[in-house]
Amino acid sequence: MIRETIAQALATMTTHRRWAALTMFGIVWGTASVILLVGWGVGSQRMTDDGMQKVGKNLVFVWAGRIGEDLSPADERRLVTFDFDDLEAVRKSARRIEHISGENFTFAHVRYGSTGRIVDVRGIEPVMKQLRGVTLAAGRFISPEDVKFRRRVAVIGQTARERLLGPRPAVGKRLTINGQRFEIIGLLDRVGAQLSRNRTLLDEQVWVPITSLMTLLGNEKVDNMVMRPYRREQNNALKSEVRAILARRVHVSPTDEEAVFVISLIDFLSGFDAVFRFMNTFLLLLAVGTLSIGGIGVMNMMLVSVNERRQEIGLRLAVGAQRRHVVGQFLVETLVITLVGGVVGVLFGLGSCKALAAIPGELVARPVILPEIVVLAIVSTTLVGIISGIGPAWRAARVDPADSLRAD
């Protein structure tokens, strides 16, 4: 019976060839647009996410600030500072931290030979490599021993290398930072454009052990802490956990957001998430709209088919078919026709995604192919098929067997 239904659906298509071709085009195009548009939306989202995250995935930054909620003028309020003990306290007691590194920074006078530049110099711990997600082009990264013995070693970014050294190999060369000699032990791979903030250009920085920078600057302060929760959902829990620990240690109110200043990339991205959710929904509606136009075509074709087959319907009713049999038959036929277009559309959509993804160029978002999107496309097409079938099936079920059998 199912084989017969499928055969009948195909027969309907062949008896209305031109119409069927047009209708099929609508369904194919609609299904393909679901895959293409949603894939492209998700692709754009990923591209933005990756760009934002080049500064390091899901990072949370904590700065020591200045006491807020106070009656004194802003510049007379107590400055808050963190030291190694505060860093260790957070490292030991915060339960949601995957990695944490202290960080110091200064704009220092860096010199190689006769070339001098003002450079963003950061004092860091070895785990910063995981936090920032950087890789080495040459040499090695800063080790725990480098930090422990306050070694004067440096890892430099690609842009910093070009400005100071030109095309020369960097590892093994000596720099002076504020007059002190440092040896270059590693060269980072290029990180590239960051979408988050133009201040944090990793490629322009020179990294040294946090302790070495403390010695250079003559204090034992930790300017900020860079950390990451195990999971993105732990963002808020981590923020309040860290704020509570530090507020107690530096004697400020846990609600003082100026004293312990927290910025989370995850919050930043969540804002974008909302935008992309809206955009993806819009694109999906657009695609489903296209699909529905195809659905209307299928519906019309089936309505005509019902009219042409009144006698057949009457006969089936006469030989014992119930209304539900007739309804089922026309629903399934409509669905078969729609799904034929749907399958072609899925293939066409996947092909277009692949083709678009192959176009070179940095800032064109590449459509991504996800199983969920394919499922979404098939589900949408099926729904459109069922909805398009309701009208014709209802009309078929209302055929009066007595009348229709004597149509000629």
């Binding site: 019976m1 017969e4 057949e312």
Partner: protein, 215 residues
Amino acid sequence: MGDSEVRALDGIDLDIGPGEYVGVVGPSGSGKTTLMDIIGCLSRPTTGSYEFESRPVHQIDDVDLAVLRGEQIGFVFQTFNLLPRLKAVENVELPMLYRRVSRRERRERAMELLRRVGLANRADHRPAELSGGERQRVAIARALVNRPSVILADEPTGALDTNTGDAIMDLIEQLNGEGQTVVVVTHDPRIAGRVRRLLRLRDGVVESDVKREAP
């Protein structure tokens, strides 16, 4: 005041027994078709009652009526009403599709009936490849496939030439000879001359109801 009610049938009081061979004749508009629709359970009388094997049809719901049609009534039409895309044997199987009959049993039973009407060798042909007489034989096989209580034929020879028509009537009479109840609605005086009970309708009433012995 707009009393435009048309009574297709009026005051009909009729009883058809098992094994009868009944012809219904009458001019156009006499109510033949309406009578046939009611006998065949395709529609219910607006008022009055119709009982099929002691079941009051006017009280049966749509679903049960569909089942009753499928199981108890075999239709034969003037224009055969075969589905053009199906093979002869598949057309014969059609009434069994709506009952719980296994695929194998359907095929066996359909082939048995095609043999019965002399078309076993045409089972795989489609209606377009069959002659008019052959098509009507397929339709008769289809009508018989659920072992109905009554065969209801509406102008069964109307689209056939005289010889072929006679052969079809021979087949129908042969079935009647085996105890099958048959009701034929017709214009054809040749058929009217062959039935054993003839109902003449005029303006929705039975004008005459004549029974006669088999020749």
